[in-house]
């Protein structure tokens, strides 16, 4: 099996093509203890595109991101990253694909025994062993400056606010210069000003880096600000996918209700 994957990686890894989907989710289903969470989801994201995945709490938005980065495996369907189906890949093979991906967890998931700077340096220490200590330090400072956290380098995660933790989490997600950025509720639990700042930061990063991004959120305003297209989930299915205007013009009851309540 491992040999088959070797061959697949060698022959299917495509050149970056702005038109081809970088992330392709096809008819994915996932259930936990018999409870269907995702029920035939299909989504595609191309380079430079930002897709916002919206929906009520518990509709499987975060599970979708965990499936894309391989922290969960789908019950059926396929998830392709740059054309490579990630289903059944061994952890080290999956690791090679994950190096091209950045993930911001809902609660940032910073390593609580490391300082802010050490958190951001963590992926670099493991994957950029060619970097000297000073180069790594410069890179960490540059990343922290990008997210406006360069004055908190020596602080512990427990000493900074939730919004600041998310900024540091974002800097860590960007450390390996990913081609795909996955953001799980980047503005959840933040005040409107901090939310706006995070949105601006994401937009700035998109302009500069042209990544394929998937943002899971239930904040419609944030989604409208940062995404090229939106997908609305309900009961494990995509109810509608398109631009914000298409959602506004939709006659679907759930879409109308969601937009009205947001």
């Amino acid at each position: 099996m491992a040999a088959a994957y070797d061959i697949a990686i060698k022959h299917t890894e495509p050149e970056l093509d702005s038109g081809a989907p970088v992330v392709a989710v096809e008819d994915v289903r996932k259930a936990f203890a018999g409870h269907k969470v995702l029920d035939g989801i299909s989504l595609h994201v191309a380079r430079g595109e930002t897709l916002a995945v919206l929906g009520r709490s518990g509709t499987g938005k975060s599970v979708l991101l965990r499936l894309i980065i391989g922290l969960e495996t789908p019950d059926s369907g396929s998830i392709c990253i740059h054309g490579q189906d990630i289903a059944g890949l061994a952890m080290d093979r999956m690791g090679e694909i994950r190096k091209k991906m950045g993930f911001l967890f809902q609660h940032a998931a910073l390593y609580d025994s490391l300082t802010v700077a050490e958190n951001v340096a963590f992926p670099l220490e493991h994957h950029r062993r060619d970097m000297s200590r000073s180069e790594r330090s410069d890179r960490v400072m540059q990343l922290l400056a990008e997210v406006g956290m360069d004055r908190a380098v020596d602080k512990m995660p427990s000493d900074i606010s939730g919004g600041m933790q998310k900024r540091v989490g974002l800097a860590r997600a960007l450390a390996l210069e990913p081609e795909i950025l996955l953001l799980d509720e980047p503005t959840a639990g933040l005040d409107p000003i901090s939310s706006g700042e995070i949105d601006e930061l994401i937009l700035k990063l998109q302009r500069e880096r042209q990544m394929a991004s998937i943002v899971v959120t239930h904040d419609l305003h944030s989604a409208k600000a940062i995404a090229n297209s939106l997908a609305l989930l309900d009961r494990g299915k995509v109810v509608i996918e398109g631009k914000f205007e298409e959602l506004q013009d939709s006659d679907i009851g759930f879409v109308k209700e969601f937009l009205k309540q947001s």
């Binding site: 965990r66 922290l71 999956m94 090679e96 390593y111 609580d112 493991h126």
Partner: protein
């Protein structure tokens, strides 16, 4: 007789009022589920061990984390193990003096102390002390990382958590247990001699010469190095319990408790097997 004839399980205790009986099928179901859970736990442990083994034996090796864990398991446990070893040495010295005097075998004091400390008490005591300190520490640390998604963050950063978090801790336990045992043995012998020397004149040179007289390397090396197996048990169970935790703060508490209890239990059970193994293969 009906299938559903009740079985009394809680007598008349007021806490169980209204729930004092269970039906036979329920009792069988309960036993079935317990047996299922037992075998499932061992199966999961086996799969976990295989994943750790595979990750730990393939590069890149996490040297820096290993050194950190060697310090955490070894240096940090040393004072506790040394203190316990010292206390055990005094206790064995006092008990041996009393017992041997009763049977007119006082001349066997040094040999009795040396063999008791090195072959029996040093290894098992070190195993149990490290089970408590390191087992709880690893179990709680990894469980806390699990419930706050830090282990997922390690994996999402394209780093194998079995290699970084588990293999390093287990290897540190394997390497450090024999060294800690040597330290416990040394402290036990020193304080044992000192306790005897306080009562009757006995030079340290005399004590060592008489204690080790006629002994072979096989008398001391296997009991010391069997603690590497204790290290494997402690590290493996603590990492396994920590990395499979669910359920917030309560889950972290459970993982720490289970790590200590199960590691201590399996260390004692392993001791039974290893003593027999040593007696057969290193007579």
């Amino acid at each position: 007789m009906s299938d559903r004839q009740p079985i009394v399980v809680a007598g008349n205790h007021p806490l169980f009022a209204g729930q004092r009986t269970i039906s036979k099928p329920y009792a069988l179901d309960l036993v079935g589920r317990l047996a299922n859970g037992f075998f499932e736990w061992f199966g999961d442990l086996g799969i976990f061990f295989w994943k750790v083994l595979r990750a730990g034996l393939t590069p890149p090796y996490e040297w820096r984390e290993l050194v950190r864990q060697l310090d955490e398991v070894g240096s940090m446990s040393l004072p506790l193990v040394a203190a316990a070893g010292a206390a055990i040495g005094i206790v064995i010295s006092m008990e041996a003096r009393y017992s041997l005097s009763r049977f007119g075998a006082k001349s066997m004091f040094s040999t009795t102390l040396v063999y008791s400390v090195i072959q029996v008490m040093g290894p098992i005591m070190t195993g149990l002390i490290v089970s408590g300190r390191v087992g709880a520490g690893i179990g709680a640390e990894l469980a806390s990382m699990k419930v706050t998604e830090q282990i997922d963050a390690v994996e999402a950063s394209a780093i194998n958590p079995y290699r970084l978090l588990a293999a390093t801790r287990i290897l540190a336990c394997i390497l450090m247990l024999p060294l800690l045992t040597l330290a416990a043995d040394a402290c036990g012998l020193l304080t044992g001699w000192f306790a005897q020397a306080m009562v009757e004149p006995l030079s340290f040179h005399q004590f060592i010469e008489s204690g080790f007289k006629g002994s072979k390397l096989n008398d001391f090396l296997p009991p010391t190095f069997k603690t590497a197996v204790y290290g494997l048990i402690i590290g493996l169970i603590a990492c396994f319990q920590g990395m499979r935790t669910r359920g917030g703060a309560a889950g972290v508490g459970r993982a720490a408790t289970n790590s200590v209890v199960l590691a201590s239990l399996f260390v004692i059970l392993a001791d039974v097997v290893l003593v027999k193994f040593i007696l057969v293969f290193f007579p």
